[in-house]
């Protein structure tokens, strides 16, 4: 997924210009969720809301399925994706668990132990 970026660091997505272009409409959707009225409209019909923002079918599926890894792969910026997670009551540690194949508790425990040391 980091094929277009200038360098590769294992296990590390780099949010570069191509990625930002790919995720542009999806990230706009995430940013809109800052406002309560948009969260309500999203909640009332998630699919329609995705269509209104012009998401690709893959992005739409990733959002509806809460496939957090796919959202990142499809151009989501973690700061934007997190807006959706917050709406769902999910923490950044929960997302960290998803990205690393751990439960939230395991991820929190790893952080408390001083963090993870590498990929």
């Amino acid at each position: 997924m980091a094929a277009e970026s200038r360098f590769d660091v294992a296990g590390t997505p780099v949010f570069d210009g191509q990625t930002s272009r790919r995720g542009f409409r999806m990230n706009k959707l995430f940013m809109s969720l800052r406002f309560a009225e948009n969260r309500e409209r999203f909640g009332a019909d998630e699919g329609a809301y995705c269509d209104q923002f012009g998401l690709t079918p893959e992005q739409r599926t990733a959002v509806l399925d809460r496939d957090w890894q796919a959202m990142i792969d499809l151009g989501g910026s973690i700061f934007y994706v997190y807006k959706l997670a917050m709406m769902d009551g999910r923490s950044m540690q929960y997302l960290g668990g998803v990205f690393t194949g751990m439960t939230e508790e395991e991820f929190v425990a790893a952080m408390r132990a001083g963090g993870r040391s590498g990929g």
Binding site: G17, K28, I72, Y80, G96, F99, M111, R116, G119
Partner: protein, 281 residues
């Protein structure tokens, strides 16, 4: 002639603000962090500047991805605290200093820094958490007016560390040439090592952080030589935001005196660092 009296480097992790807003600073998970802040806060309370400059990045709250400026400066007389999704932090809105902003803008553009001017800007945790680290109980208002200086650290290509350090040096000259005799505090925010997404999420590199904390005082040019790739490899994809410390450092004297520093893992997913420097000769 204005004078930089201190520089404060600090993480701006949202959960630090949340812990304060929810009265959890004495909780076992948080007590060590806030205890570690105390000596810096006490010194800062005794050294109040007339105006502060906060170097920070926005996190999908004040600006969107349709327009991504490499460097920006606010010129407003007021910056509202952003609602990041679940209500705004219960802290005061920010009073700006347009006169200083416009002076800095003109000086920096004259020196060849291509700033973007923000006449309207809501500020998010990247801005307000450092203010809370500095001033835990602001009451109705922060200690002084504040000028925001924005940096793109989210979307590659970020400005290089060298460019950030050079901007800081020009910022120092711009402050020195200001017509008003004011004392300035500078906050460089972000970091330390962390990565939020990818298989390496949760990455912390305490060794690199300690090197960075040491070198920001004694050898900032060494840090300015780091490439984006080195920063991302060593500090994580979001740890690159430590380039903002270099802007603060560049605006200070070659020699500074460390008042206090503190390092704490983790503040949620992030290694939290604080370093306070006295800039007076």
């Amino acid at each position: 002639m204005a004078e930089v009296i201190w520089g404060l480097a600090t993480s701006h992790v949202p959960s630090i603000g949340a812990a304060m807003d929810r009265g959890k600073t004495e909780d076992p998970n948080w007590k060590a962090l806030f205890d570690g802040y105390r000596p810096a806060r006490e010194w800062l309370a005794e050294h109040k500047p007339d105006v502060a400059i906060v170097i920070y990045n926005d996190h999908a709250n004040g600006i969107d991805l349709d327009i991504v400026p490499t460097f920006g400066i606010g010129t407003a007389d007021r910056y509202d605290v952003a609602d990041e999704g679940f209500g705004r932090r219960p802290v005061p809105d920010v009073i700006g200093d347009p006169e200083l902003s416009l002076h800095l803008l003109e000086s920096l553009v004259d020196e060849g820094f291509d700033l973007t001017v923000f006449q309207e800007l809501d500020v998010d945790h990247g801005f307000t958490v450092p203010l809370s680290v500095w001033t835990p109980d602001p009451g109705d208002s922060w200690p002084c007016p504040v000028v925001p200086l924005l940096v793109n650290v989210i979307q590659y290509p970020q400005p290089t560390a060298a460019r950030c350090y050079a901007l800081g040096q020009a910022l120092g000259r711009a402050i020195a040439s200001y017509g008003k005799d004011v004392k300035v505090g500078i906050l460089g925010t972000g970091g330390m090592s962390h990565q939020l997404a990818g298989a390496r999420a949760g990455f912390i590199n305490a060794e690199f952080d300690r090197m960075f904390m040491e070198a920001i005082e004694s050898d900032p040019a060494k840090l300015a030589a780091l490439s984006r790739e080195e920063l991302i490899r060593e500090a994580g994809s979001e740890g690159i935001e430590m380039i903002m410390w270099l802007i603060m450092r560049g605006a200070m004297n070659e020699r500074v005196r460390k008042v206090h520093s503190h390092y704490f893992v983790p503040a949620s997913n992030t290694a939290a660092g604080l370093a306070l420097f006295d800039n007076r000769p």
